[in-house]
């Protein structure tokens, strides 16, 4: 019996070495060590042995069994390693080929700039107000202290629909609409982005363009507050090291009025091509809300003051992205749009 055990054992070990598949390995294991396996069958015959022989034979069988199991384990690991090596050897790709493209659309640069401006002012507690693009003469001009025949109306060439209805030339009418709506609530603190229209078309003017208006009305609003808010905005928009300066200007709906320059984002103020050597770049117009405009909005200029500002989105986009010709923004060439 012992010789039989040894014979099965040696034979099996020999076979193990020749097998090269995990499945065959498993098959052989069942054939030898399984319920009906050859070695198991020998173990069953142990009942016929004498009491003295039994433990000896048992030991022989168990030893063989564990020897085989170890051999199986080793062969299995060996085969796995071989298989892995083989797989790695065949699975080679050219990592320099371009990756699968996930289609990605692009937001128009003007949208991106408007959203960035919105986010900055939302962070400062402003709400976003909107108004119609087709406006009445009253809201676009008269309520903004620009009566009919006022010479300042000429600053803007308007698109008219009728004598009394026109495409708004500025987002400023939203100032009046907002005040009318919110009155007598305080504070009024809104920005109003949107399309505006002027009869003009060249490299720096488009007949349709975008503005963002700002309006703050409350007790005790000061011109220094305007400066603070705009400094904050400029630094978020153009960089933390930016400075601003105010220059006297004229708008019919603000008094005092100021043009706001930001220190050049390209040269930092030293003077370069972008800022035409001045170190400053004009970015927006602003001022303290004219008392007549507050009155038109329903507020008492003796009790409250306010400031307002308006900026051209195209201009800011052109500065931010280094766009030289405004017409590119409305040409919508995909090679242009897909850069953003």
């Amino acid at each position: 019996m012992k010789s039989e055990i040894l014979r099965i054992g040696e034979e099996t070990l020999q076979q193990l070495k020749e097998l090269d598949k995990q499945e065959a390995l498993q098959e052989l294991k069942v054939k030898v060590l399984g319920k009906k396996g050859s070695l198991t069958a020998l173990l069953r015959q142990m009942g016929s042995l004498s009491v003295e022989e039994r433990p000896i034979m048992g030991q022989v069988v168990n030893e063989m069994r564990s020897r085989l199991e170890q051999a199986w384990e080793e062969r299995s690991v060996e085969l796995e390693t071989l298989a892995l090596q083989k797989r790695l050897a065949t699975e080679r790709i050219d990592i320099t080929l371009p990756g699968t493209r996930v289609p990605r659309g692009h937001h128009h640069p003007l949208t991106q700039v408007v959203e960035e401006i919105e986010d900055i002012f939302l962070g400062m507690g402003f709400q976003i107000a909107e108004g119609p693009e087709i406006e009445s003469d009253y809201y676009n001009f008269e309520a903004l202290n620009l009566p009919k025949e006022h010479p300042a109306r000429e600053m803007q060439d308007s698109f008219y629909i009728t004598e009394e209805i026109l495409l708004r030339t500025q987002t400023s009418p939203v100032q009046i609409r907002t005040m009318e709506k919110l009155h007598p609530h305080l504070p009024v603190k809104v920005i109003a982005p949107g399309k505006v229209y002027r009869n003009d078309d060249d490299a720096t003017h488009s007949p349709m363009f975008h503005q963002v208006e700002g309006l703050v009305v409350d007790h005790g609003i000061r011109m220094s507050d305007l400066k603070g808010i705009l400094l904050n905005f400029s630094r978020q928009m153009f960089g933390e090291s930016r400075e601003i300066r105010l220059r006297p200007s004229f708008f019919p709906f603000t008094e005092p009025s100021a043009e706001v320059d930001v220190s050049c984002m390209l040269c930092g103020g030293a003077g370069c091509r972008l800022c035409k050597g001045t170190g400053w770049i004009e970015i927006l117009g602003s001022g303290m809300v004219h008392p007549k405009v507050l009155e038109m909005g329903g507020y008492n200029p003796k009790e409250v003051t306010g400031f307002a500002f308006g900026m051209g989105v195209e201009r800011i986009a052109m500065l931010k992205f280094g766009i030289e010709d405004m017409r590119l923004l409305f040409d919508n060439d995909l090679r242009f749009l897909q850069q953003f």
Binding site: G105, T111, G123, E154, R222, S224, E255, D333, L334
Partner: protein, 801 residues
């Protein structure tokens, strides 16, 4: 307004350079657009004297000249043949760039080094009035007294710089040199030296004309009219200094009389007009034109006038269009012996309307339009008298001054403490006093409250805030600190609608579409095609014909963009726009129209080529897939029904889109018959109203728990008639499957062999699941075959094996 620095220096003490002054003015609120240096090109051109002339050793036609240029003696080689030793000539030194853009460098001519260039008239862009006659065919030869070594520009009197002021409409006063000088004086705290006629209450003492009356028939349009009668007129050119200043200001010199009127206008801001007194029949009438009345203006054009045109006329005929242009008949000529010089106020509105209509805009009309100082009308004539006498151009003999209307002289209060509060800057009362002194405004003061008398030339100052601006700009806006508003805390956030718009934009971009922004005005025919001609709103004055109406559809703009891109070989286009359309309810508009926000998309071409994947054609299903993604994101149940508008869309490949039984837009391939017109092939597009999407979008997400029991999947493949809608089959399946049928998906559509013609095979995956228990194969099989039977009955479907 062009401001000659040389002129300005006469009117105010100035120690700044042109560039520094420009900066001072700009920071003070008078924007200087440009500084023009009249000496440009002459910076390194000096007057030299020819010391010796020697033939070039190696060239017959060249001369080697030794030239004394003052500080040194230089050697210059020239090819000119008109020079003599001792001639004084303009020498362009090494490093100059001449007016004709020629740059002068040290050079070698046939072995001899030349240290500059002797210049001809042509090279310096000069006319024949400069230099000796001998200059004609070579180097410009100057008069023998030309100072050697002096800058040539200075010699020509061209050292001046001109500031170009970009004036805001509130500062028409700065259309006068004296007021620019006042402004400079205020900003730099210098003393102005103005003609005495700028001082208040100057009286021009002249007898009243016995034979001339002035009758103002339109006192609303003409507040004041003064006429100065001049005799012994001697017409001649005006002196060089006056011509130079006029040219620097952009005004062409004509004759002493015309030049004096223009000079005084530029100086004092009051437009003037000289009539030939002997051509005036009877009295002067300031009146409206009669119907059909005609006048031949100075430019020789006969003009028919409207009845709202203001005229200067005599008893017989019109003499001038008030404030706009004189008449040819009463023009000053070389034979003129007597003058009437007009100094008057005309309504800005009236002058603007007339000058627009006649297409005549001038320095004079511009000043009337912006508004002149009616108080300065006679004072300006005083200045004219001085110049007439100084130049010996004529003898003022009489004055007629008719005043109908003068604006009130203003007093405005200014509180020091209120100013500090509004500006947010701590200002001392003394600082405000200083500002008012610098402005030369008269005032009284009581405990920080000022009562300021506003000079008549500063009509822009009406209220306290206007004075605050004067204070702020004179102390400098830099004095205002930066603070933040002190009021209640406010919440900054987008409205739900604004937020939805933003998310919708993001969703479409994430689906691979590029956002575009197109003009909201478009071609009338294109808008009529895709939108509604009945509602589209025409502009009265469009920029171009093809931008003539406000759009009622976003589609034409997107198709234009697509065609433009395809024409430029950007062949694969997938774009969208979110923007307004504009709907008028009546023609012409009586009230503001409805502005309706829409979202539209266009795709043409195919998805990007890639070595690994086949490109996909942009087709109906491509855009539908994008819309489905969007619908899924916002919990919208969009329904697709056969399109009704079949003229624009491919009848077999288009759908109207419904949301809760309301048609909100369409999706489809453009009708092949339109492809030529739009220069696009196989283009698919959609357009949806924004508001219904927003109103019905899912506001919040309610999460479902994940089923704990396993699902069982069964596939069903059937053959149905081609026209059977897959959605109809699926919805029947859902109905028959009840709540155990958790999901139906179509995973294959097939036409062709072995499926009979006019038929198609559809394959569905059905997923069965219960939330309460594990389903058995038996019950699923039973349910599945009931579904199969149901659709076999309903659609005549056959099971495909």
């Amino acid at each position: 307004m062009k401001v000659s620095l040389e002129w300005l220096r006469e009117l105010v003490d100035l120690d700044q350079s042109a560039e520094d002054l420009a900066e001072t003015l700009t920071r003070g609120g008078i924007e200087v657009e440009d500084v023009e240096n009249l000496n440009k090109g002459f910076e390194k051109v000096v007057i030299g004297e020819i010391v010796s002339l020697i033939k070039h050793p190696d060239a017959d036609r060249l001369w080697v000249c030794t030239v004394n240029v003052g500080q040194e003696v230089v050697v210059i080689v020239t090819g000119a043949q008109n020079l003599l030793v001792g001639d004084r000539v303009p020498v362009a030194l090494v490093g100059s760039t001449l007016p004709n853009e020629l740059s002068i460098r040290k050079s070698k001519l046939r072995g001899v080094v030349s240290q500059g260039m002797l210049c001809s008239r042509e090279e310096l862009l000069l006319d024949v009035t400069v230099g000796l006659e001998r200059s004609a065919d070579g180097i410009l030869i100057l008069l023998p007294d030309a100072p050697v070594g002096e800058n040539f520009g200075k010699y020509l009197g061209r050292e001046d710089s001109v500031l170009d002021l970009e004036l805001y409409p509130n500062r028409p006063d700065c259309l006068a040199m004296v007021n620019v000088a006042r402004e400079v004086a205020s900003l730099t705290r210098k003393i102005p030296h103005l003609p005495k006629w700028t001082e208040q209450n100057q009286v021009l003492t002249l007898p009243t004309a016995a034979d001339l009356q002035i009758i103002i028939e339109e006192p609303e349009l003409c507040w004041r009219y003064a006429g100065l009668v001049v005799e012994d007129v001697h017409i001649a050119p005006s002196p060089e200094w006056m011509q130079r200043r006029l040219k620097a200001s952009g005004v062409r010199p004509i004759s002493n009389i015309v030049d004096i009127t223009n000079y005084c206008m530029l100086e004092m801001g009051q437009p003037l007009h000289a009539f030939d007194r002997d051509k005036i029949n009877g009295d002067i009438h300031v009146r409206a034109a009669y119907p059909g009345e005609k006048i031949v203006t100075l430019d020789g054009v006969e003009r028919t006038l409207q009845t709202d045109t203001l005229l200067i006329a005599d008893d017989a005929q019109p003499l001038a269009v008030a404030g706009v242009m004189g008449g040819l008949d009463s023009e000053v000529t070389k034979d003129t012996k007597r003058l009437m010089i007009e100094s008057a106020h005309f309504s800005g509105v009236s002058v603007r309307r007339t000058s627009r209509r006649l297409g005549l805009r001038s320095e004079a009309s511009n000043r009337f339009e912006k508004g002149i100082d009616a108080y300065g009308i006679v004072a300006t004539l005083g200045r004219v008298c001085d110049l007439l006498l100084d130049l010996g151009a004529g003898r003022p003999v009489a004055l007629v001054d008719v005043v109908k209307n003068l604006p009130p002289q203003r007093q405005v209060s200014l509180s020091a403490s209120h100013t500090s509060t509004v500006l947010g800057a701590e200002l001392e009362t003394a600082e405000i006093r200083q500002v008012l002194d610098d402005l030369n405004f008269a005032y009284t003061e009581q405990e920080g409250l000022f009562k300021v008398s506003i000079p008549t030339y500063r009509a822009d100052i009406e209220i306290e805030e206007d004075l605050m601006e004067e204070v702020a700009r004179l102390i400098g806006y830099d004095r205002i600190p930066t603070t933040l508003p002190q009021g209640d805390l406010t919440q900054g956030r987008r409205t739900p609608e604004q937020e939805f718009r933003r998310r919708l934009r993001k969703a479409l971009a994430q689906a691979g579409m590029d956002e575009v922004i197109t003009y909201t005005f478009t071609r009338a025919e294109a808008d009529a095609q895709w939108g509604s001609a009945k509602h589209s709103i025409p502009l009265l004055n469009p920029l171009r014909e093809e931008l003539g109406v406000m759009r009622t559809s976003l589609v034409p703009g997107l198709l234009d963009v697509s065609a433009r891109n395809v024409a430029r070989r950007n062949t694969d286009v997938s774009i969208f726009e979110i923007g307004n359309t504009y709907w008028g309810e009546e023609q012409p508009l009586q009230k503001l129209p409805r502005e309706e926000l829409r979202v539209a998309g266009v795709a043409v071409g195919k998805s990007g080529r890639h070595w690994l994947n086949q490109p996909v054609n942009y087709d109906f299903y491509y855009l539908k897939g994008i819309l489905e993604e969007v619908a899924l994101e916002f919990g919208l149940k969009l329904e697709y029904r056969l399109a009704e508008n079949q003229g624009l869309l491919h009848p077999g490949r288009s759908a109207d889109i419904y949301l809760q039984n309301q048609c909100i837009g369409f999706l489809g391939e453009m009708h092949p018959s339109l492809e030529k017109e739009w220069e696009l092939e196989r283009v698919v597009l959609f357009e949806l109203e924004f508001n219904p999407l927003f109103e019905r979008m899912r506001q919040t997400v309610r999460a479902h728990s994940i089923p704990r029991f396993p699902a069982i999947q069964r596939d069903i493949a059937i053959v149905v008639a081609s026209e059977t809608a897959a959605e109809a089959v699926m919805s029947k399946m859902r109905k028959l499957g009840g709540e155990l049928l958790q999901q139906v998906e179509i995973f294959d559509v097939y036409r062709g062999k072995p499926i009979p013609d006019d038929h198609k095979s559809l394959a569905f995956a059905l997923r069965y699941q219960s939330l309460e228990r594990t389903l058995t194969d038996e019950e699923v099989n039973l349910l599945n075959s009931r579904i199969l039977e149901g659709i076999q009955q309903e659609f005549g479907a056959e099971r495909r094996k």
